[in-house]
């Protein structure tokens, strides 16, 4: 069995209650940090651990904490980003609903490290039942003296607030999240200034993903160096992967970073292979916004090395032959899947979720969706494919927030790797629009 950090005790009955969680060694990190460590020491451990942001960007968490401005007399905030809305990613949801105290414990430790006296968990609005679970867990922790005024008699106060969002994808972008938390329209802010300098209510703020924060109790208990031992290279620790699509065993799995993609996909411990009688066609490795990979680039990189589940290996070869680990939304397609339809589907999502603030994203996402709709429904023409490539180039990098990039990458990569399928849709409209149709040209299937 592989190493488990987050999901070690997840199957213990009643783990969502304080008592069972405590019995499994819960809240020892809070005791250790508050009683025997200084905030700087906790930050130092986080830096040593090399844990990288699990929300998608993969920025080292300790370094992010190090950037936090600390002016005198100004409050600092920690905000937990639980607005997980990326299609294909459902790890935070699972973590929060099954083991809410892990996040609470992580929040206490992290808030202590950053010197925040009020911290927020921003949960997406669709997950009201999770919000109730978290609120109950907070009540329990408060009753036992791990939250509220004067935690464990140390003089450190912390108030934890769970805030439901409105269910907008864009509010998962950190500055849009802060705007939304302030009660405004969830429009991303222009950066700089970054949240570490001017965040929530114009005060220094750190925004971290649920999974990143949930790693903190283990790091405090076992030390950052022990954490850095796990994983491979600069991809330290474990990662929750939400596997879905045409595989035998979809679900959330905790893997040690550095596991090979082949093992993850085929071993019975994880995905259990492609469903019987079918072949692998494509993979989206890190949630809908990362580039899609064709079958011949999934198990091996373009250089012929084994592809591993790590930040570096998945992005090996750049966007020409690689992708990103992103938020760990592992979507597998077999040969029955239509890439054009899938791209159109993703594109519909980004069109719907664009905030409408900056022009490339507002107009471009809608335009891409319409062109893809046309191709998918058999009304496309050959220049539409090049038009799509050109639109993606004009959106990418020119927007306020990464939603523009996220909307253009899936389209650009689908055309890069599956251009013949787009062309087939245009040249064979009647076959392509037949129900259940998928291109079975001379592509490499594994």
């Amino acid at each position: 069995m592989a190493r488990k950090i987050l999901t070690e005790h997840i199957h213990v009955p009643g783990i969502e209650t304080f008592d069972v969680y405590r019995k499994q060694g819960g809240y020892t990190a809070v005791e250790k940090a508050i009683k025997s460590m200084s905030p700087e020491e906790v930050v130092e451990e986080a830096k040593k651990s090399g844990v990288r942001g699990r929300g998608g960007a993969g920025f080292p968490m300790g370094m992010k904490w190090g950037f936090l401005a600390k002016p005198e007399g100004v409050p600092r905030y920690l905000v937990c980003n639980a607005d997980e809305s990326e299609p294909g990613t459902f790890k935070d949801h699972y973590l929060m609903k099954t083991i809410p105290h892990l996040l609470i414990e992580g929040m206490i430790v992290s808030s202590f490290a950053l010197g925040a006296n009020k911290s927020f968990i921003y949960v997406r609005g669709e997950l009201m039942y999770v919000i109730r679970i978290l609120e109950k867990a907070i009540e329990e922790a408060k009753a036992k003296g791990f939250l509220g005024k004067n935690i464990l008699g140390s003089g450190y106060d912390l108030e934890l607030v769970v805030q439901p969002g409105g269910g907008a994808y864009i509010c998962g972008e950190e500055t849009a999240l802060l705007e939304s938390l302030e009660g405004k329209r969830g429009n991303p802010r222009n950066k700089p200034p970054f949240p570490a300098v001017k965040g929530l209510y114009q005060c220094p703020t750190v925004v971290n993903n649920v999974e990143s924060i949930s790693n903190m109790p283990w790091i405090v208990n076992n030390g950052g160096e022990a954490y850095a031992q796990i994983g491979i290279g600069r991809s330290t620790g474990t990662k929750l992967i939400s596997a879905s699509g045409h595989i035998q065993r979809p679900g959330v799995y905790e893997i040690e970073l550095g596991l090979s993609v082949e093992e993850f996909m085929n071993s019975d411990e994880y995905c259990g292979g492609i469903r019987k009688g079918h072949h692998l066609k494509a993979l989206v490795a890190g949630g809908s916004s990362v580039p899609i990979l064709p079958a011949n680039l999934i198990m091996k990189t373009a250089n012929g090395e084994d592809r591993l589940m790590s930040y570096e290996s998945l992005s090996d070869g750049g966007f020409a032959s690689g992708t990103m680990l992103g938020s760990g939304g592992f979507i597998v397609f077999d040969e029955t899947a239509c890439i054009v339809k899938n791209t159109w589907n993703f594109s519909q999502f980004y069109h719907h979720e664009s905030c409408g603030q900056c022009s490339p994203c507002r107009e471009g996402t809608g335009w891409m969706e319409k062109v893809l709709h046309r191709i998918e429904h058999g009304h496309g023409s050959m220049h539409d494919v090049d038009l799509l490539v050109d639109i993606t180039k004009k959106i990418e990098g020119n927007t306020i927030c990464p939603l523009g990039d996220a909307a253009s990458w899936p389209v650009a990569s689908a055309i890069r790797h599956f251009r013949d399928e787009f062309v087939w849709h245009i040249t064979h409209p009647s076959e392509a629009t037949a129900p259940g149709a998928a291109y079975r040209g001379d592509m490499a299937l594994v």
């Binding site: 222009n190 979720e353 664009s354 603030q357 022009s359 507002r362 809608g366 335009w367 180039k393």
Partner: protein, 371 residues
């Protein structure tokens, strides 16, 4: 940080050096260059959403994206993405490329296209035509053709009060009117509703806009989305003659432009600077009710640029400078031909080489097609 007098930052914008105070934005530095030398006006990045009199505006339309080729004298790395010049502050030693960078102009062309795909292009019946920022922007940076084949987005018409006509279909969502209502009027009744390309400027539950300075949202609107109801369909802007005038107003500065058609004042607007920004906001009484010459003290004709549509009655393409990147590239990559090679006379070798070169060229064109 030394607490002496603020040291000036030296930046290079399109090869022109300028010294500005710390905290200045790239856009303001470019405008400073153009103000000192009128012939350089074309290097200033266009602004569709940024409006200097309205703090916090800008960064939304992405029309003013520029390339920072060198971040500062200390950190000489280029910035990885194009940055919006209207909100990016200068650093000492920064090198900025605007009209000298192909990627910038390409991105800008994209922005024009994005802004136009859902714009109705009803300029022949639009009151803003002739003084429309989007027209100017498209004329200077856009292309004459569209690649958009789908139906354009439309909105239901909404009545937002007696003075201001809202044409949401023409709106480019620059948010200027929202900032104006926030910062100039004492209460904001309108804002942006909905999300994505369904976003619209609207009042909350169909209320009407009603306060003394609401008329200013007409002046700040870069397109014909907010127009003057008392002026609707009365005139084309190039048929009218602007005159500076002032009056004793107890609410505002009273400094305005009267737009004459014959002897009749058909419209009153606030005065604008070279960059199309209002100098002093005026009240609704001045704008909508004082429409007789006897209400005003005339100061003389407003200075209008000779090249503007108001003066020339048309767009003058000879005034738009378009840099030639092919020439620039050729100039930078020019190399003398290597003449030390042996002179080949053998026919078979020549034939073989030409086939090889052909193959390479074909391969390249295939590669280009595929990428």
């Amino acid at each position: 940080m030394e607490e002496t007098k603020p040291q000036l930052f030296k930046i290079t914008f399109d090869g022109i050096e300028v010294e500005v105070e710390p905290g200045t934005t790239i856009m303001q530095a470019a405008r400073k260059i153009a103000e000192a030398d009128q012939s350089q006006t074309s290097i200033v990045p266009p602004a569709m959403c940024y409006y200097k009199p309205l703090p916090a505006s800008g960064g939304k339309c992405r029309a003013c994206l520029v390339k920072v080729a060198q971040g500062s004298a200390k950190d000489t790395r280029p910035m990885p993405k194009l940055v919006p010049s209207c909100i990016t502050q200068v650093q000492d030693g920064m090198v900025v490329e605007n009209t000298t960078n192909e990627a910038v102009l390409e991105a800008r062309k994209g922005i024009v296209e994005f802004l136009l795909i859902n714009h109705p292009l009803d300029c022949p019946v639009c009151d803003q035509a002739g003084e429309c920022n989007l027209q100017d922007f498209a004329f200077e940076h856009g292309s004459a053709h569209t690649r958009y084949e789908e139906e354009r987005r439309t909105f239901e018409k909404k009545d937002i009060g007696p003075y201001v006509q809202l044409h949401m279909t023409r709106c480019i969502l620059c948010y200027r009117c929202v900032y104006t209502a926030d910062q100039v009027t004492n209460k904001r009744e309108h804002g942006v509703m909905n999300r994505g390309d369904a976003s619209e400027i609207s009042t909350y539950i169909e209320k009407s806009i009603d306060n003394d300075f609401s008329g200013n949202i007409i002046d700040v609107c870069p397109v014909g989305a907010l127009t003057d109801k008392t002026y609707r369909f009365k005139n084309r802007v190039w048929f009218s003659k602007p005159e500076d005038a002032h009056c004793d107003c107890d609410k505002c500065s009273g400094k305005v432009i009267l737009w004459y058609r014959g002897d009749e004042v058909i419209r009153v607007t606030a005065r604008k600077n070279t960059w199309g920004e209002v100098n002093e906001f005026i009240c609704n009484t001045c704008r909508f009710e004082r429409k007789k010459t006897s209400d005003w003290v005339l100061e003389g004709p407003t200075k209008v640029k000779r090249s503007s549509v108001i003066s020339a009655n048309k767009y003058r393409s000879d005034l738009v400078k378009k840099p030639d990147f092919a020439l620039k590239l050729a100039a930078t990559q020019f190399k003398n031909i290597d003449d030390t090679r042996e002179y080949v006379t053998d026919k078979d070798t020549i034939r073989h080489q030409s086939i090889e070169n052909n193959d390479k060229a074909n391969h390249r064109s295939l590669l280009n097609q595929n990428n």
